[in-house]
Symmetry: C2
Subunit: 157 residues, 2 copies
DNA sequence: TCTATTTACGAGTATATGCACCTATTATCT
DNA sequence: AGATAATAGGTGCATATACTCGTAAATAGA
């Protein structure tokens, strides 16, 4: 009984999806997935993920720092960062200690963490260069610059 | 006993982190997070997430389609897509049926799903325009084009 | 046709992500 | 000082993501 008069079928224009294929969220997530996989693959031999490398690198840069402050810098939810640190703590790469302000938890990169970061660095470097190469250096620079701008603008709102 | 001669402390150059701050993976994920939150916020009033809007829009575009084929198009892991479809099935927006080839599962957008998509569309559209506006149309177009190029290059490897 | 291989999928496990709600601690106000 | 507000974190819940391993069905090869 298709095509009945009373049938209130949605009238979605086919053109709508062409538009949705340009969705900023969808495309960023898609790119994130494929690039994350590439970085994960690059570091799998030493048991680190791309996100975990970032965690160690950030801890190296900012340590000692509170969880909330680090989360702000990384543009992550506080609770997400707290949980993401857990595997790194279990591996002994990061310590999370009570701060003087006893509400806070202080993130510190351990010596083992520094060594792991050093071990990972050349693998990260290669992956980073590979991606840059695949895109072309100009395109890559332009993309990164636009993405940074996007992040700034979204935070500014 | 710091500074012992035998101490093989990692010699990480401080410049290394400045480099890591440009990590393609980190920056893409950071942008994904913040943009995803914006799209999620935009659709929270109707109980959809940005990712779920994408799911419905893709199902609308490609339905009927097998899970694996849809995953390929969306550049997602097959098992991820299968699981992500579950909440949409529970909500009645999508049906997953047995295919003629009985190994396959066929994804179909239901009438309720079409209605939901139609309801979500203006909210999506606004979020999309907001982001475009924040970045500036030129910058946005350039970024999307670079990201598409990145995805193509990463898949081509 | 019977076997070996390929294909499509699901379940288990682990991490990544963020919201709502709760607790503990500090800072502020009267 | 005591009451109130603000701040830092944690837990529960739900979704997002992908790898490994296992099963069922279709296909290719002998």
């Amino acid at each position: 009984m298709k095509g009945k008069i009373k049938d209130p079928k949605p009238q979605i224009d086919l053109k709508a999806f062409a538009e949705c294929g340009q969705c900023t969220c969808f495309n960023l997530r898609k790119a994130s997935r494929i690039v994350t996989q590439y970085f994960d693959d690059s570091m799998r031999s030493i048991g680190l993920r791309g996100t975990q490398f970032t965690l160690l690198a950030s801890a190296f840069a900012y340590s000692p720092i509170t969880v909330t402050h680090m989360a702000e810098i990384m543009v992550t939810d506080r609770t997400t960062l707290g949980r993401n640190l857990r595997p790194m703590e279990k591996s002994g790469f990061i310590k999370v200690e009570l701060g003087d302000d006893r509400r806070t938890r202080i993130v510190k990169l351990t010596d083992a963490g520094k060594e792991k970061l050093q071990e990972a660095y050349p693998l990260w470097k290669k992956a980073q260069q590979d991606v840059k190469m695949k895109m072309g250096s100009q395109n890559w620079s332009s993309m990164i610059s636009k993405i940074s701008n996007l992040i700034d603008q979204m935070q500014g709102s």
